[in-house]
Amino acid sequence: MKFVYFSLITVSLAFFLHILFVYYLPNVAMLIAFHHMKYNNKVGTNTFFHSGIPTPRLRNVPKPDPNLFYSLCTYDVSKYPVRFTAPIPDTSWSISFYARNGSNFYATNDQTFGSKEFNLILTGKKNGDRFRKVTHKIIAPSDKGMAIIRSSIMNQKDPDKLVQLHKQVKCTPLNDQHV
């Protein structure tokens, strides 16, 4: 009887832990990415880090595309919304937003955005009602996550110019003065 009792407790606990593991593993992977940004790249939240064109030594993104220039930003919309601005170059360009659990909840590119200047406000669920009149506004499913901009360097006559353009990207927290 005692054996059955302990077995039931063990299996129940194992089931609970299994669900916890599977559910939170993506969050752990993202935490490692945040940690890498903060301590290896020495970049805080709401600041873009220009990872550049991947080489065997640059390891910010797994299985990187060596034909893309990457810029990454750990966003934090827990206190204030964040405005993302970027000039869109004449090449294949995209921006993707990833939630704390790694899901890609918003993505657009140079062909779908409809303007040569990317301008978007990302808000948290708490401050989602602000900026109602703004055209490009999305509510992030989690307060913290990652935004990644990718620009293709292929077929570029002047890659340095593209890199300079790419470095103009910004993510700016909009505090009460901006509202």
């Binding site: 194992a14 299994h18 669900i19 599977v22 593993l25 990187p64 060596p66 993707s96 993505a107 590119n109």
Partner: protein
């Protein structure tokens, strides 16, 4: 008292082991279920944005962190040649194929750790913009440890496994709807005993 404490520690320890083992097994199951093979190439279905359910999302995040949505990119991975044997550096391989109906595509080689392989040429991939073609259509990429003429990609130190990724960027709607219909390049072992 001591006996009860030891029993509780044992329960927690066994439960932890069971939880980790079952999580690993379920991830392996999802991997097998969602990989669709087309010759040596496999595609992960569903692609980013389609993942439904806790298990698929977890497996996808762990294997393709920061992946792109399928309307932006479809990608195929090869870890074997056309005979089904693992791609091992030290052997010479040829990738033979044609182009794709898309904005741009590229073929990249990765080491066992999933990162680019350092080489004196600093070349890690070929794309439709820089690959040498015959008749403006067909191409051959040589994969080997030693430099070759033409389209050559370094495959790593001898004896190590490597993988190839084909990225089709901004594919057509038909390709997105039916990636199984895409004609993929052949990966043929030329020579070597690695």
């Amino acid at each position: 008292m001591m006996e009860i404490m030891i029993t509780h520690i044992e329960i927690v320890f066994i439960a932890l082991l069971l939880a980790m083992a079952s999580a690993f097994v379920s991830m392996k199951y999802i991997e097998k279920r969602d990989r669709t093979y087309m010759g040596p190439w496999y595609i992960i279905l569903p692609q980013v944005g389609d993942e439904k359910g806790m298990y698929t999302r977890t497996w996808y995040t762990l294997t393709a962190l920061f992946g792109l949505k399928k309307d932006e990119q479809i990608y195929f991975v090869a870890e074997t040649d056309h005979s089904g044997k693992p791609l091992i550096s030290g052997n010479d391989y040829q990738i033979k194929g044609g182009g794709f109906e898309c904005r741009w595509w590229n073929i990249t080689v990765y080491g066992q750790d999933g990162y680019l392989l350092g080489n004196p040429e600093n070349r890690y991939s070929f794309s439709n913009f820089d690959i040498l073609k015959r008749n403006d259509i067909h191409y051959t990429i040589h994969l080997s440890s030693d430099k070759k003429d033409g389209n050559w990609l370094f495959s790593g130190k001898k004896g190590e496994k490597f993988s190839i990724m084909l990225r089709i960027n901004h594919p057509t709607k038909d390709m997105v709807a039916n990636p199984g219909g895409i004609v993929l390049p052949l990966i043929i072992k030329e020579n070597g005993n690695a």
